[in-house]
């Protein structure tokens, strides 16, 4: 069983499907319309639409004869917010790294020097910093 996020990324791994989604950001449309820019048979396009539908990235009308497809933004937003959470974590980590490198430089400590792992004089631990 695949989680939603993996389905989203798997569905987006194909360039044709990405192009289809890009087209659908302009509004709902039919398989015939979607097939136009590609040298591809209608069944081949339908196959891609099925993958996108299963991944929840598009919805297709049941009632109309031409069954227009439209974009569903939910899974894309979920994917984006998942990334956002990690991005924030990383930005904060790199802030601390930046601070640590500055402290090392200020203390004239060469990181390549063999260190015993003990606290060196003049090297403040960022954990115990009291500024801000």
């Amino acid at each position: 069983m695949q989680d939603q996020l993996s389905s989203t990324f798997a569905a987006l791994a194909d360039p044709t499907r990405r192009a289809i989604l890009a087209r659908l950001t302009l509004g709902e449309t039919s398989v015939t319309e979607l097939a136009k820019p590609f040298e591809m048979s209608m069944p081949a396009v339908s196959k891609h639409l099925k993958v996108l539908e299963r991944a929840g990235l598009i919805a297709r009308a049941r009632e109309a004869q031409w069954r227009p497809s439209r974009l569903e933004a939910g899974p894309l937003e979920e994917a984006a917010s998942w990334i956002e959470e990690y991005r924030r974590f990383w930005e904060e980590s790199l802030d601390r790294l930046d601070e640590y490198l500055r402290e090392m430089k200020a203390a004239g400590t060469k990181s390549k020097a063999k260190s015993s792992g003990k606290k060196r004089p003049g090297t403040k631990s960022p954990k115990t910093k009291s500024k801000e």
Partner: protein, 172 residues
């Protein structure tokens, strides 16, 4: 709507860069040596205790984060690629005390590991760091390797943001 706009911003910043006023060697060492890692690595507000640190492909960096309220949790790297001093790739995840992979405690339904890559480049005496992250699902690893694997995942993520950003722009 505001939240969506926020998500769209995140989209473009998924792969991000940072310049450090330090030599590439110093940045590399800060990333790969336990005596440096313990000074800066870990979730905000935590202190880090290092269990294992084996800098080799397949090797484990296993560490414990202690929160100010006394709680603690283990996490790990599994190193994949080590090319000093310019390229480091590892799988990033949470773990139990023995180093076994555990679900993300804040998001148990999401893939438990991410493949993280750090690339360091020298730039006018400073160091440019490029960080890339993609979700990694070990159960699908074999199929991904055969299908062109990680690179396809990366494209998928970039595309997700592109499509989403387009969509939001059209809607507003």
């Amino acid at each position: 709507m505001a939240q969506s706009a926020y998500a769209a911003t995140a989209a473009t910043e998924f792969v991000f860069t940072r310049t450090f006023d330090a030599s590439r060697e110093d940045v590399w060492n800060a990333f790969t040596q336990p005596e440096h890692l313990k000074h800066w690595w870990g979730a905000p507000g935590t202190s880090v205790e290092i269990g294992r640190h084996e800098l080799k492909p397949g090797g484990l960096f296993h560490y414990r984060m202690k929160f100010p309220d006394g709680r603690a949790m283990w996490a790990r790297f599994v190193f994949r690629e080590i090319a000093a001093p310019e390229r480091l790739a590892w799988l990033n995840g949470f773990s139990d005390e023995h180093g076994g992979l555990t679900p993300n405690p804040w998001a148990p339904t999401l893939p438990p590991e991410t493949l993280n890559t750090v690339i360091l480049a020298e730039q006018d005496g400073k160091t440019l760091l490029t960080f890339t992250m993609v979700p990694f699902n070990a159960s699908e690893e074999e199929t991904r390797v055969f299908a062109g694997g990680i690179d396809r995942m990366k494209m998928g993520i970039g595309a997700a943001f592109e499509v989403l950003a387009n969509y939001l722009a059209q809607r507003s």
